[in-house]
Structures are given as structure tokens and as C-alpha cells.
């Protein structure tokens, strides 16, 4: 085989997930990056392999089979750069989402300032703040020390002090941290990310580094009024990635092949959402959720702010956290009453044992979709508690994760997302059917054009533009008249009733004008309905008008819920 190379720009992305490893191929077609194909195989970082290699090899092999393009040589090595005959790839990126759960302890000065900010930083990684200590902590020092030891943290996030501000309190706190490190055996000592007053950085680093690994990053509170999380987020991601790299067998072997160092999938995911946030309506913001096996990730961004949040809810082993944390009754409300609470709990616990199992009948699929709705509701609730979303109006909503791709129709996916997120205003819904958002974020570090051009292609499923109408009218009464005018001048009229959901056909990629006449004080959040029509884009589910109200009220009686769920699917064009 020839080893000559030529100028080309194909990119192979690998995402190592907790359940599956996916290989995605991008290439330049007619001067623009396109998504070519993907291949997936079970991840092998767990027993019996304890090495990511087999899963990566299998996923690339499947990609080869589906594209007919040779990416591996006869010895199973990646052909990089590509050859004249088109074999191989030019660039290679890796993202990792099979991260282990981290126990985090945060230290800061004032509860409402640095401690609050450092806790926000902790929200971005897969883990939990198990102890949080500020200067107003009323416990004696030895009790604080014992509490941290009992928590057995993997990571300490240490913030405090504005630039040029307080140093004595920080030094006192650092003595406590040093005491904790001294007590713990070396293999058990947590790493430290210091994100406080930079004047003390070197001194603290020198002190801690004889005991553990320390990383200094920018002060997250340079002044009392300013919170700057971005540089610390990046450094934290790198630190966590480094910790994972040490635990993930085979990643050290693969990293030298990468065109840019491996990153956490959540970091790539956040990069894309941050980029999109600057492109869309500044009053709204882009919202994205990825529901994984062990944990889920949500990111929000507009022109000014962006944030990333991780939750221990997932549809694999993370499903047990639903049963642990919340009343199963909330989840049962998304079901039609054909199964008892005990049966539902048993199903979820069983699924946590076998995260890659597949629902084979309708009842089990309905249960898994109910669990997905419930996870989305929990995420929205937690985001509200964390005060993370400036608005519930999003443009667009991007959803990723195998749970929403394991549906029979796009309609099922759309309903799950709408029921779970319950957005306001007008929002396009986009499904990341190949789970590529994280990889796009990683590939964007090589060439920013790649994510931009792929995002504009058909690699994503445009589910629908959804108009969310809210009214206090009685269920069943007319609250809106809608006319969708197509590009060819033809139109479709519809009367919208309170409590209903309706789809107006408009193919994916087509645009139309939606004329709305509001009745009975119906509103679409933050949208001024004048005589001007609204320009809408179609999706595989058309243009959807959701008049079911916010928050959705579900009847207590299972029989009524069954009827309601059936009606919603029917009105959207389902069976």
C-alpha cells in the first residue's frame, strides 16, 4: 500500500461513552465539511477488557463496514494521515464521557461570593460536592477537618479572595487543607484546583505540591461583583481529563495519535453550545441536553453567558439515582397505569444492572421514555434551583443521547423532549441523532469551520419548530387561530384548543409563514403577536403548536392519562 499523502481534511472522531464507543467520520465534500457516517460498539474500559482499545477498534471496524472506506491497516492500526487512494484519515480526535464519579470538596471565603462560584464550577463535572467550607462555617476546625476526611474527596476546589484582596483567611484555610492532606495516605489525597486570589497562587502551590498535584487557574472572583468561570472551567476539565486518563486503560496509548489532546465530551459539548449561543437571538439562548448512561449534561449559552451542568441522572447505571432520589410517583404520572410502582421500580433497577439492554415491547419502551421525561424534568428542576437559566425560551433546543434515538418515530422523541423540558415561546427542536455534539466541539479545536458546516448540514434531525401557547381558558375552548402559508402560496388553517397539541405539516428544510390570531388572552411568552406573520422552519414533525399549558397538568386517574397520551400522539400525526 502506498504511504504517499496528500492535502485532505478528513477527521475521525471517537467518543468513549460509559456504554458505547462511537466512531464518527467527517470529510470535505465540495469545499464543505460533511458528516459521512458513524459506527458504534460496546465500550471496553470495563470488565473483562479494562482497556478502551477493543471498543475503539470495533467501532472503527463498523464504520469501515458501513462506508467501505479503509481506516485501519492489516495490523489494526489507524491509517493517519490518509493515503492517496483515500484510505485512512487526516485528523483524529477523542472525547471521553465514561468518567468516574468524583467526590468534590469546595473551599471558599464568603458563602454568597467565592463559595457560591466555586460550587458552580463543581456543577460542571460528573460528581457531587460532598462538603463545602467557608469562613462562616460555625463548626470548630477539627470538626471541619474530620468532615472532609469522612467525605474522602477526589478533588478539592479552593477559591477565595478578590485580586489584591484578603489573604489571611485564605492562608488559614490552606493550613486546614494541608492538615487534611497530611493525614490522608498519599494514594488517597485529592488533587487541588486553586481559583482564588492569584497573589497567593505560587505560595499555596509550593506548599501543597509536596503533598498532592495542584493546578492554579484564574481567580473566579477577580472583584466582588465579577464572576469569571470560563478559564477555571477549562482548567478544571483538563484536570479531570488528566485524572480520567490515568484510570482509563489504553487512552495513554491512543493520545499520541490524536491531533489535539483528548477532552471530556462535556467540554466539547459546551464548546459547541457556547459557539451557537453567540449566533442566535440574544434574548433567548441555546439550550442543550445530553442524557447519558451514568450521567447527563445540560448547557446553556447566549451572547453574554454560558454554563455547563452535570447531573447524576442517566438511563444506565444512573437510572438508580431516579429511584433513590425522587418519588417514583412523579415518574408514574408519565405512565398509563398498566404497571404497578413495584414493577416500575424493579424494571429501573434491573436496567441499572444492564445499561445497554433494549426494551423489546411497547410497554417497556413506554416505561423507558417515561424515565427519560422524568430525568428531563429533574434536570429542569435542578437548573432552576441552581438559578442557571435566565429564561425558559430557547432557540434552539438540542437534544443528544441514545435514549431519544431509541424511539420508533421522531414524534415520540419530540413528545418526550416537550414533556420533559416544557419550554416557553417559540423554539426549534433539534435531535443530535448521532451523538456528535461533543466530538464537534473537540474537532472545532482543529478547524472551527468543521462544527459550523456540519451543524448546518443534515447530520442533525430538525424535529420541529414548536410554538408554545399559554392560556387560562377552559380546556377544549378555542384559544388561537393559526394559518400556515407555504412558499407556493397555499395555506393551511387550524383552530387551536386549550389543552391540545397539533402538528401542521411543513417539511424539514422548508420555511413558511405562520399567522396567528390569539383568542382569550392567550400568550406566547415574549412574542409580540402583531399582524406580522412569524417565519417558521419545518421539521420531520412539521410545525407544532403546543397549547397544553405550563406546567403540564396530568390527570391523577390512569385511565384519563392513557386517553390523554393517546390523543397527543394522534393529534401530532401518530397512530
Amino acid at each position: 500500500m502506498s504511504t504517499d499523502t496528500f492535502e485532505a481534511n478528513s477527521v475521525l472522531g471517537i467518543d468513549i461513552g460509559s456504554i458505547n464507543t462511537r466512531a464518527l467520520l467527517f470529510d470535505v465534500v465540495e469545499n464543505s465539511y460533511h458528516f459521512i457516517a458513524s459506527g458504534a460498539a460496546p465500550s471496553t474500559h470495563t470488565e473483562p477488557y479494562f482497556d478502551i482499545g477493543q471498543g475503539v477498534f470495533d467501532s472503527i471496524t463498523r464504520l469501515q463496514e458501513s462506508t467501505g472506506r479503509m481506516l485501519l491497516d492489516n495490523e489494526g492500526n489507524l491509517l493517519i494521515p490518509s493515503r492517496v487512494g483515500g484510505e485512512g484519515v487526516d485528523r483524529f480526535v477523542v472525547t471521553v464521557s465514561c468518567t468516574t464519579f468524583l467526590k468534590i470538596v469546595t473551599f471558599g471565603l464568603l458563602n454568597d461570593v467565592s463559595l457560591d462560584s466555586v460550587n458552580k464550577l463543581a456543577y460542571s463535572i460528573h460528581g457531587k460536592v460532598v462538603e463545602s467550607i467557608g469562613i462562616n462555617d460555625r463548626r470548630p476546625l477539627h470538626a471541619q477537618l474530620d468532615a472532609v476526611l469522612a467525605a474522602n474527596p477526589d478533588l478539592i476546589l479552593f477559591a477565595g479572595g478578590t485580586e489584591g484582596g484578603a489573604s489571611r483567611s485564605i492562608l488559614r484555610m490552606s493550613s486546614l487543607i494541608a492538615n487534611i492532606l497530611e493525614i490522608l495516605p498519599a494514594p488517597q489525597r485529592p488533587r487541588i484546583l486553586y481559583c482564588g486570589n492569584s497573589k497567593l497562587g505560587k505560595r499555596l502551590s509550593d506548599g501543597f505540591s509536596r503533598l498532592t498535584q495542584v493546578k492554579l487557574t484564574r481567580n473566579i472572583h477577580p472583584t466582588i461583583d465579577d464572576e469569571v468561570l470560563e478559564p477555571a472551567l477549562k482548567d478544571l476539565d483538563e484536570m479531570v481529563m488528566d485524572m480520567q486518563q490515568a484510570k482509563l486503560g489504553g487512552l495513554d496509548r491512543m493520545a499520541p495519535l490524536c491531533s489535539t489532546p483528548p477532552i471530556l465530551s462535556s467540554q466539547g459539548f459546551h464548546n459547541v453550545v457556547r459557539f451557537l449561543g453567540k449566533q442566535y437571538d440574544p434574548a433567548k439562548g441555546v439550550f442543550a441536553v445530553d442524557i447519558g448512561g451514568t450521567h447527563s449534561v445540560a448547557a446553556y449559552a447566549n451572547h453574554d453567558v454560558s454554563n455547563l451542568h452535570t447531573f447524576s441522572y442517566g438511563l444506565g447505571s444512573g437510572i438508580s439515582s431516579i429511584a433513590d432520589k425522587t418519588s417514583i410517583k412523579d415518574l408514574m404520572m408519565w405512565l398509563d397505569g398498566s404497571r404497578s410502582e413495584e414493577e416500575v421500580m424493579d424494571y429501573l433497577w434491573q436496567r441499572s444492572l444492564y445499561p445497554n439492554s433494549i426494551a423489546t415491547n411497547k410497554t417497556d419502551l413506554d416505561l423507558e421514555l417515561a424515565a427519560t421525561r422524568h430525568i428531563l424534568r429533574l434536570i429542569m428542576r435542578d437548573l432552576e434551583l441552581r438559578n442557571a437559566l435566565p429564561t425558559n425560551r430557547f432557540e434552539p433546543i438540542l437534544i443528544s443521547g441514545s435514549a431519544l434515538n431509541r424511539t420508533v418515530t421522531p414524534l415520540q422523541s419530540l413528545l418526550v423532549i416537550l414533556d420533559g423540558i416544557q419550554p416557553l415561546g417559540i423554539c426549534p427542536m433539534i435531535l443530535d441523532k448521532h451523538g456528535m455534539l461533543g466530538i464537534l466541539g473537540a474537532a472545532g479545536r482543529l478547524d472551527p469551520l468543521l462544527p459550523v458546516q456540519v451543524l448546518e448540514s443534515t447530520a442533525f434531525t430538525n424535529l420541529a419548530t414548536v410554538i408554545n401557547a399559554v392560556s387560562n381558558a377552559k380546556p377544549g375552548s378555542a384559544i388561537m387561530q393559526a394559518r400556515l402559508v407555504y412558499a407556493n402560496g397555499s395555506y393551511l388553517d387550524a383552530e387551536i384548543k386549550q389543552g391540545s397539541i397539533l402538528s401542521l405539516p411543513l417539511a424539514s428544510g422548508e420555511t413558511g409563514e405562520l399567522q396567528l390570531k390569539m383568542l382569550r388572552r392567550t400568550v406566547i411568552e415574549d412574542v409580540n403577536i402583531s399582524n406580522e406573520p412569524i417565519l417558521v422552519r419545518g421539521g420531520v414533525c412539521g410545525v407544532v403548536i403546543d397549547a397544553r399549558g405550563r406546567p403540564l397538568q396530568l390527570p391523577e386517574q390512569a385511565e384519563k392519562r392513557r386517553e390523554l397520551f393517546h390523543n397527543w400522539e394522534f393529534m401530532l400525526g401518530g397512530k
Binding site: 460496546p42 471496553t44 474500559h45 470495563t46 470488565e47 473483562p48 477488557y49 479494562f50 477493543q54 468516574t100 470548630p140 476546625l141 477539627h142 477537618l145 474530620d146 476526611l149 469522612a150 493550613s175 486546614l176 494541608a178 492538615n179 497530611e182 493525614i183 495516605p185 494514594p187 488517597q188 484510570k247 429511584a323 413495584e342 414493577e343 421500580m345 424493579d346 424494571y347 429501573l348 433497577w349 434491573q350 436496567r351 444492572l353 444492564y354 445497554n356 439492554s357 433494549i358 426494551a359 423489546t360 415491547n361 411497547k362 417497556d364 419502551l365 431509541r406 420508533v408
Partner: protein, 363 residues
């Protein structure tokens, strides 16, 4: 596709690492015979401390100045009210220990005293022989015997004589199973949904319970028990699979070691039952591909808990009853029923067959 496996072996060679999470003291030597409860390694984990701030208490100008007044050094053992530091002179001020303990460190003008600790142990968890010491962490223990892997455990370990009562092995564990003969015994049952039975078993001082399945509603009660509870199949009422049942019944009266840990695929630790036997077993394989002839257990969705034989691996993707598509196998169940089951829902019950005769006789 690589197969998900559960090992059910009447006689195999078993080799297990028994290590502490942190360095400690290894209490066994190579060649030593051990029983399940023998301690392999132990370590003291400090749990309570005093922090005595000499610098601030004595109002010194610098921490270094305070440290000059401290008359103790790290490692010193102290009783309550022992003097830690004193200023000296006619009006000497002293700092005393608030309680007994050991000095961990002296820095920044502060004395850190460890006042309490707890010991953690790693036990052998099976009868066997120590074949290798893992420095300061533990040892490798080897044996030959019966191995049955589970899917869930309540984080306890223990051992005892296996008592088989056929009516419970075939069905639910009921209060009537907890009789006078169960003290220090390991019980086996199809499933359990009653928290009272588990609590009664604790009162009766059973050494362990082996269940086919358990109701998820009693997980908190199971986790609170002082004896090991191992679940072999999962959650619900589908009970013991026929292979595990057969191996258990044939092991009645033998000493059973239960390691009821949580299943952690990242570390490879899995709940398991080990019955050491005086014969030599062969090592078992850890990797398999799905193939025709394998005995499989369905672990999810339709046919949950059923055991059958793979007739063939269906090429490409198969359409499932709900419309989803997946890689699948044609499986013949014990009832004679044939069905298409996604490979992702199949667990190969891997066993050496010579002990119990052919294993696909039910298929």
C-alpha cells in the same frame, strides 16, 4: 459481538485479589491456608482529630515563635490534659491536650492530634491458599471449587453451611424458612419481597442469604442487614435460574463463602459465591463471542429471567415487536418457545458441563 457473561461453574480454578483501598499491614504469608473470615490485611483509618492552635491561643507574633514553645513532636502519644506548649517564666501559660491521642503534625503553630480511628480489614472471603503478597495492600488467594456470580449484593461478606429447603429455592423466601436450624447457615431462595423475613433472619443469626431475585422495594432493608445477601438474577420475582439452582442444590451442606459486593464493571468486582472443593479445577474464560449453542439468560424486557439456548445469531439488525431494530439471536426457551431476543439482553450462563451432564437439555 462480545458476550455478556455470568459464570456458574460447579468446579473451576478461582484466583482473587484481596486488597485494602489504602496501604496497611498484610497479616498473612505466602503458602498460608486461609478460611473466608481470616484477615488478609488491615489498616487504621483516623476518624477524629483535635487541632490545637498554639499560635493564636498564646497570642504569639509568628507561627514559628509558637512552634518553639511546643514541647512535643509528631508521633507522640498524649493523655488528656498533657502539656503541649508553655511560655515559661514566672507567669507561664500552658496549652494542654483536650483529650488523649497521637500527634499527627505540627505546622503553622498548630498541633494536629488524632484522637480516634477505626480499623478496616480485608478478609479472604473464601477458603484457599495465599499464593502472592501484594505489598502493604493484601494478597492473592487461590482455590478450586464452585463459583456462582451474582448481580447485586448488600456490601457484606460472610460464610456458613448451605441449607437448602426445596420449597423456598423454587419460590418465595417466607418467614417459615427462618427456623431453629438456620443459625450460622446460608439460606437459598427463589425471591424475596418481604422486609420482615430479612429482619427475622438477622435475629436468627443466619450467615447469609442467596436469592434469585429481590424486590427493589426492600433494597434499603437488605442493605441494613449485618449478614451478606447476594442476588443472582436481578430485581423482581422471576427467581433462580435453573443452572444456579442445580449447582446450589447439589452443594447443600457445604461451606459457602459469599462476597456480596456491588457489581462494579470498572474494577471488575462482582458479587459471587465460592464453595471451595478438594478437587482441582481449570481456569474459566473471561471473554466469549455470542454463538449458537450457548445457554443464555434474558436479563431485560420480554422473557425476563427465562433461560434458553441460542439457536443462531441473526445477521444484521432484527425488527423487535415494538418496532426498534437491534442485533439479535434466535433463542429456544425451556418451554420449547422460540423467540428473537436482542443480544444486548442476553447473558451467557457459562459453565463447565461435565459435572452436571449436558446443560442444554432443557433447551
Amino acid at each position: 459481538m462480545h458476550a455478556q457473561m455470568t459464570h456458574v461453574h460447579p468446579l473451576v480454578f478461582i484466583r482473587r485479589n484481596r486488597v485494602l483501598p489504602v496501604p496497611g499491614v498484610v497479616t498473612v504469608r505466602t503458602g498460608q491456608k486461609v478460611t473466608p473470615s481470616d484477615v488478609i490485611a488491615e489498616v487504621e483509618i483516623p476518624t477524629r482529630h483535635y487541632l490545637v492552635d498554639v499560635y493564636r491561643s498564646l497570642g504569639m507574633k509568628t507561627p514559628a515563635e509558637a512552634e518553639r514553645l511546643i514541647e512535643r513532636k509528631p508521633g507522640d502519644l498524649l493523655q488528656k490534659n498533657d502539656i503541649i506548649a508553655e511560655t515559661g517564666g514566672m507567669f507561664s501559660r500552658v496549652i494542654r491536650t483536650p483529650g488523649p491521642g497521637k500527634i499527627v503534625s505540627i505546622s503553622g503553630g498548630r498541633v494536629l492530634i488524632e484522637s480516634d480511628s477505626r480499623k478496616i480489614f480485608k478478609t479472604a472471603g473464601m477458603s484457599g491458599m495465599v499464593t502472592e503478597i501484594i505489598g502493604e495492600r493484601g494478597a492473592i488467594v487461590e482455590t478450586s471449587g464452585t463459583l456462582i456470580q451474582g448481580v447485586w449484593g448488600n456490601m457484606q461478606t460472610g460464610s456458613g453451611g448451605l441449607v437448602i429447603q426445596q420449597e423456598y429455592v423454587d419460590g418465595e423466601l417466607l418467614p417459615s424458612a427462618i427456623g431453629l436450624n438456620v443459625r450460622r447457615a446460608v439460606l437459598a431462595a427463589g425471591f424475596c419481597k418481604s422486609p420482615e423475613v430479612l429482619q427475622a433472619a438477622a435475629v436468627a443469626e443466619v450467615s447469609g442469604i442467596i436469592l434469585g431475585t429481590i424486590s427493589s422495594s426492600i433494597i434499603p432493608v437488605a442493605e441494613a442487614q449485618p449478614y451478606p445477601i447476594i442476588v443472582l438474577g436481578g430485581f423482581g420475582k422471576f427467581g433462580l435460574d435453573p443452572l444456579s439452582k442445580k449447582v446450589l442444590v447439589s452443594s447443600s451442606g457445604r461451606e459457602v463463602a459469599i462476597n456480596a459486593v456491588k457489581w462494579d464493571r470498572v474494577t471488575g468486582e462482582r458479587p459471587e459465591i465460592i464453595i471451595s472443593l478438594p478437587s482441582d479445577g481449570e481456569p474459566y474464560p473471561v471473554e466469549l463471542e455470542y454463538e449458537a449453542g450457548q445457554i443464555v439468560r434474558v436479563h431485560a424486557s420480554e422473557h425476563l429471567g427465562k433461560v434458553g439456548t441460542v439457536q443462531k445469531i441473526i445477521p444484521g439488525l432484527s425488527r423487535l415487536p415494538n418496532g426498534l431494530r437491534a442485533s439479535a439471536a434466535a433463542v429456544k426457551f425451556e418451554s420449547g418457545e422460540m423467540s428473537v431476543v436482542p443480544l444486548a439482553n442476553l447473558d451467557v450462563l457459562h459453565m463447565t458441563s461435565e459435572f452436571l451432564g449436558t446443560t442444554d437439555e432443557g433447551g
